[in-house]
């Protein structure tokens, strides 16, 4: 804190290290847990704010911007926290406890990287909003952005995991299991925390009225309807 410019620079270099999957990200990194959390909140906030600006930023719609900005970091943090215990226990049973600190650092770093990637997509979303006011296509566009950012982050996770897999091939099983658990919880979390964009026909609320429900049950019903059963 005594030398703010230097810390700021160090922080930016840290983010760069993170994106390049430098080994020091996993082995006692330039980024402490506090910085990683700050990155997650700050960059998640940026994308969330842009995402929530669909209906405008004035009047009541301003609150949608604030809500969405809060919800993106919330979505990632809650999903992470809920998925972690099972990941920890299965790691232990597979005999990988000694590497767990490193694995955890890789996972947390990936979370931060995901928000950085998302934030870098924010201008695209803004451009899309500026060119079209169709709610459905906005929904689809954001899904696309989230999907691309997630895939990018998972590729980064695989790179961060490479030294661990070299130590013990069983880490490969674990990293796949993590993706399954994380996606399973994350999809439902995204569903529960709706609305992120804010339908123009509905009043601005933090949670959507009657939005409580299960994404997978909805999907099962849609499949059935499409098949005409």
């Amino acid at each position: 804190m005594d030398n703010p410019p230097r810390t700021m620079k160090a922080r930016l270099i840290g983010i760069d290290d993170l994106l390049r999957a430098r080994p020091r990200v996993v082995v006692g990194s330039a980024l402490g847990p506090r910085q990683i959390i700050l990155i997650m909140i700050a960059f998640g906030f940026v994308y969330g704010a842009v995402m929530g600006s669909f209906g405008g930023v004035t009047g009541e719609r301003f609150w949608q911007v604030v809500y969405s900005a809060t919800k993106v970091p919330l979505l990632l943090t809650l999903t992470f926290a809920i998925s972690l215990p099972s990941f920890f226990i299965i790691n232990t049973i597979l005999g990988l406890r000694d590497d767990f600190a490193k694995a955890l650092r890789a996972l947390v770093a990936t979370q931060a990287a995901l928000t950085v990637v998302l934030a870098s997509f924010a201008p695209f979303t803004a451009l899309w909003y500026a060119s079209s006011s169709d709610y459905q296509s906005a929904l689809l566009f954001n899904t696309l952005m989230f999907g691309s950012a997630s895939i990018t982050a998972q590729l980064l996770l695989l790179r961060l995991y490479r030294p661990l897999i070299a130590r013990n091939p069983r880490h490969r099983v674990m990293v796949r299991l993590w993706l399954v658990i994380y996606a399973f919880v994350g999809i439902q979390m995204g569903w529960v925390l709706r609305p992120f964009i804010g339908s123009p026909d509905v009043a601005t609320t933090f949670f959507r009225q009657g939005a409580w429900g299960n994404a997978y049950v909805e999907v099962a019903h849609i499949i059935m309807r499409v098949l005409g059963w």
Binding site: I82, L94, V185, M189, G213, V217, W229
Partner: protein, 272 residues
Amino acid sequence: MIKWFKQLDGILRGDATRMSALKEGRIETPIGGISVVTVFLGATYGICMGAYAVIRTGGADHDAYMQMLASAVKLPLLFFLTLLVTLPSLYVFNALVGSRLSVVSVIRLLIAMLGVMLSVLAAFGPIIVFFSVSTESYPFMKLLNVLIAAMAGVLGLAFLLKTLHRLVLVQEVIDTPQQFLEAVDEDQDVEDDELLTDNPAGVLDPVGEGTSNRARSVFRVWVVVFSLVGAQMSWVLRPFIGKPDMPFTWFRERDSNFFIDVLDAIAKLFGA
């Protein structure tokens, strides 16, 4: 209590079932402490299962809390009763094939197995609670619980078979006459020595190539029996989650079976 958790942790990490720890040909995990911790973990998962009933009724219904309590009691019971039902035949067949595993060793091994299973279950507790908060669909909750229990079961049974494999290997080393071992010593770098080293591997690591063994086939068959009995035991002890339109009862009528109901739940989930 913390000491007991550390003992369970030792089992999970594989410290308690390392080749060097099994040197005497028996497993030394303490039964009492592990059992208490296992019951505690089971009750924790039971509470998570019961959360569906409480959250669905908005926490105002007395019956829902009874369901939560019942699940917390019944979940550890499910696992210990399954063990109780399958233990006599395991003991008889284990003795019939002339296995050198003593009864105490077998029981210790099985309690350790329950410890592994219920640790995995409890670790999935937060996910169950999260889905309980946001899900109305009863068939979905049922299937999710079956899936998680199956996962815990597979990991626990895998632990059992691997540990057994190690025990048999150790005993083969012990049973081999000393002169033979010395002869082998001169011929090649003894593998047996390697087997007994302090190998920091996980509980599921394969150790060496084992010879076929009748005791092991008994356990392989028993694993299947345990899974089937466990599934049906969960049916006998139902309800765990609490069907939304039914009043709370400790047990339900004798009716149908586990496997038919799972198929039924899948059909219901897809709206059939």
